[in-house]
Amino acid sequence: MQEDKLIVETRQLCKNFGPTVALNNVSIKIYRGQITGLIGENGSGKSTITSILSGMQPPTSGEMFFKGKPHHPASMIEGAELGIGMIVQEQGTVPGISIAENIFLGEEKKFGKLFINRSAMIKEAQKALDAIGFTGVDASAPIESLNMQDRKLVEIAKTVYANPEVLVVDETTTALSQKGREIIYGIMRKMRDEDKAVIFISHDLEELMETCDTLTVLRDGVLITTLSKEEMNEDVIKRCMVGREMTGDYYRADFSEPISDEVVLRMKDVTTAFGMLMNFSMELHKGEILGIGGLSHCGMHELGKALFGEMKLLEGEVLDLRYNEPISSPKQALKRGYGYVSKDRDKEALVLTASIADNILAAGFDKIQRGPFLLPSDTKKYINGLIRDLSIKCASPKQDVQYLSGGNKQKVVFGKWVGRGCDILVLDCPTRGVDIGVKAAMYQLIDKMRREGKSIVMISEELTELIGMCDRLLVLKDGQLAGEFTHAGGMNENQIIDVMI
């Protein structure tokens, strides 16, 4: 690549968080007219490097250059003013104000120094939304009128409106609908064509290989390699990421065992109060992995909540056939050995301001209590065991969950239920935001649980994951059952997609 195209350069960049080394002498070059992918395991330093670049935090040592000049933004605002826009994983819109006000949050001065010209702001916001292809939405409407996926598009409109020269897309696509993904892919390509630079962070190999011109791999805070488009190969990338050959089966290997006839859980004619799910019935067998798939708003996430007793049912019931009693509350579900990994981990699955230990222990008190007491030795053994088994990267069990990377947070959620030894596990997008190495470990763990006779409902937006792991797959469309596939009968991706859409 011609050096005159160089827009961002880091030299020997380091970042330490106490004893934890997040970045270790990383030197990287980002060029105009390219989409540069960043990939690595959770905690490999991908988000750290872009957050330093955008001004979210300073480096511990090292140098940065932006357009040939030394670059050390004091804040994200300064970073944005210099021309670095960033779309982050976390929610970045504010409730209680309109879509237009969110787009121009902190930029109200554009519409008047003292008094704000509201109609001009709404008109300009509408233009910003139209510019990214997010049409059919009223910019004056409250932000709450949009679902979480569409709110992300508002953030994208805000970032793109500022016309950045470098756009950082940090694991945003997992929070977007298919329509949203197409919009963000379009924006990235447009920026590349306009001779601007894009840094794209994702765990989705397929997505990265299709979109990026170069792919930089990080591992444990160290830059491993940068691959050109021609060099991008799934096996090579995986090897670079985990630092060894990926041996054994990625997904489940054995589908030969027949599913038990024993039905442990039955959902009958269920219509949930919220979401799309209606008139839905299903059965879960002992030792079965039952997949639930469909498009984003098909009702599958509500199904997961309903199975755990967390969703109000307007009609129908969820019946535990082992005890012959309906599951109508999470408390009861817990009592009967259920576990539930929610898709929205930050809001529904974790107490972000509590420690890793407290989060894990929250679901496992009754498993280790001795009478009314919890012995420190028991809790330590329980917590450290799970941290070790799931390879949770943390400074200590006392570290607040909010400071973990996305994937490590998901491991904590998973650990809560795995440690509890649940008999029926409802997993809603369990590997969302989790790197490939941990994904493989989680798949093996899920399969191990199946072999132990545990029953698992696996809800996922990743079709390959469902096909690779499930005995049976139920596909939902508009809240109702649209198709059923079994491994015995063959699970063909094209057939499943046909049913899905």
Binding site: M76, V94, G96, L105, E107, T271, A273, M278, L314
Partner: protein
Amino acid sequence: MKLAKIGKNIGMTLVLPAAVYLFFLLLCNATGHTGFGVGNDLITIIYNAVYAGLVAQAMAINVTTGRFDYAIGAELVLATILGGNLANTLGWGPIGLLLCVVLIAAAIGAISGLVYTALKLPPMVVSVGLAMIYEAVAFMYNKAKGVCLIGNPMLVFAKTGMSLILTVVVLAVLVVIYDYTKIGYNRRALQGGQKIAVDVGINEKRNAVYCYVIAGVMMGLAGCMYLSKNGVVAPETGLGSASYFMSAFLPMFIGGIFAKYSSYPVAIFMGAVVQAIITSGLQKLGVSNSLQTVLNGMIVCAFLIYSSNSYKLVEAQLFREKLAKAKAARQAAL
């Protein structure tokens, strides 16, 4: 379409005060209690509504962004004592009284805001400490005599005409601040998501100080009204100044419910009108003060229960629609 929406909004803004007024009017007439809502009673209603409305505005601007300011009662006491005595000494007349009290109250509000932002302690803790300091200063000043201006011609602000002018001006200014200025925009953004708002460059500390200053101004105006009505403001001790803002809660809650039909300051004022009508109605009916307090508490609870659960009415309708859809889907499948 737009006219219909405006009509609906005006109707919804006025419906509660009108309904409560009508209820008490009918009840008083039916029970033989005459004079409700007319003459002196109307004057009392207007005074109570404007006073409580001002105090509620002062409280609401901070409470809605997570800052309960326990010191606003003490601000009223201190600013009115200092400002009232100063204006009287200088012989500045009503406008002088208004300026002295309001400017001193704004300065005290600014101090509250600056102390809160500097100490980074929970607002409740800071404001309780400040309330004790303000009360102590008011007590020490003028040998604990407070301010006594009974019969002084400066005291014009409790008169009906003046109260109404004050209301119109205050509401106009507050609506502009809330809905059309950077202060209002930033306040709402901070109310919705403080971290995100701060990350995009909104200065939380500056906005907090502005809010405390506005609250101070409101309490200064309320102080002028109180002094004009009673002629005296005595110093308080032991957090007794809290009694000056106890009338703020119901208007604030009602304002929260009805704000979507107008603007938050207008809705708060309508809440204050409702409270004043209820108080007057109960007095006319001969309800004792202690029972009035109980009833007022119950009304506040009722509004809180309603505001926390009102979404269930909308939900129930959505549930009915979904059930009908599910039934139709079942029949179509047969």
